[in-house]
């Protein structure tokens, strides 16, 4: 046991490895976050009564994004389509051997309704009946007081008629 004259014992935790690990985690999350959103990013409509659509988050969920300037994108794959008339063929392929035939439409709030109508028409041609219109839930509208006030107002309006 050779013991040289040791330096003073360091009482602090060695933070450098901890910072290393946290930086790596941070970078991982920063890289993953944009990859997790399906389709192209659009400004969604803010609605008060949406239901949770867990299935739309699945890797193989059929999601059609409609951008503000009328572009139509098909996920999985995020392929840009030249027009909605390409949809029936591609969606029919994707829908084979599937139980849940719901197709999700993620349309920009300011996209023209004619584009959305066109997408719906072509989806119907592909045999799709159920459509999920992806919207956004505004967080500030969910306070219990406001919900109660809304319910009371609705009741009053119904009683007044």
């Amino acid at each position: 046991m050779e013991k040289k004259k040791a330096a003073d014992p360091v009482a602090d935790i060695n933070v450098t490895p901890m910072v290393d690990v946290m930086l790596v985690l941070l970078i991982i999350f920063m890289v993953i976050t944009p990859m997790l959103t399906h389709g192209v990013s659009v400004d969604l409509v803010k609605t008060k009564n949406p239901v949770t659509m867990q299935a739309a988050d699945k890797e193989d969920a059929i999601l059609i994004s409609v951008t503000r300037n009328g572009g139509v994108f098909l996920s999985p794959g995020n392929v840009k389509l030249s027009g909605a008339d390409q949809l029936p063929e591609k969606v029919r392929d994707l829908l084979t051997n599937r139980v849940d035939k719901t197709v999700y439409i993620k349309a920009d709030a300011r996209s023209k309704y004619s584009t959305v109508e066109d997408v719906v028409d072509n989806l119907r041609a592909a045999g799709v009946n159920e459509i999920g219109l992806i919207t956004e839930e505004p967080h500030e509208n969910k306070t219990p007081q406001q919900a109660a006030a809304d319910a009371a107002a609705a009741k009053a309006a119904a009683a007044g008629k």
Binding site: M18, T47, A56, Y104, E117, D121, R124, E130, I131
Partner: protein
């Protein structure tokens, strides 16, 4: 280890103060972790099949409720004028006695999608189970 300068007991610290940096890193890390599992929300809608001309009786016109949204965002329930505020209560009133809560929504193609989505949202808020989207091709019967 430390140099003694100016007679102070501990001497000047020559390493970076890590604590604030770790604080910021942790907060950023938590922000990104929370953002990740945002589940999508949406409104369920249906794309109804056009009525089969040959072997189906046409649906009862009196019981079908169609919300029409015009180019100037004015709304009609069947023939009756309404607006965004009155739509919800009116729908509730109409469907109070009905078991099958179905409406059809028909929007002007020149409108923005949000106008139609808001109307569907109001309808969903009035406990309508099924919202059918009326499209030009559907009306043409294809």
């Amino acid at each position: 280890m430390s140099m003694n300068v100016g007679g102070s007991k501990n001497g000047p610290r020559c390493d970076i103060n890590m604590t604030p940096m770790i604080d910021i890193l942790l907060v950023l890390l938590i922000i990104f972790m929370v953002i990740t599992p945002l589940t999508p929300h949406g409104l369920e809608a249906l794309a109804p099949e056009p009525p089969d001309k040959k072997n189906q009786t046409p649906p009862d016109q009196d019981r079908t409720v169609v919300i029409v949204i015009d180019k100037d965002k004015s709304m009609h329930i069947n023939q009756e004028d309404t607006d965004m505020d009155k739509l919800g209560p009116r729908l509730e009133q109409i469907f109070k006695t009905r078991a099958e809560r179905v409406v059809f929504v028909k929007g002007d193609p020149d409108l923005e999608f949000q106008s139609i989505a808001r109307a569907i949202d109001v309808a969903k808020g009035a406990q309508i189970d099924k919202v059918g989207l009326m499209t030009p091709k559907l009306e043409a019967g294809n």
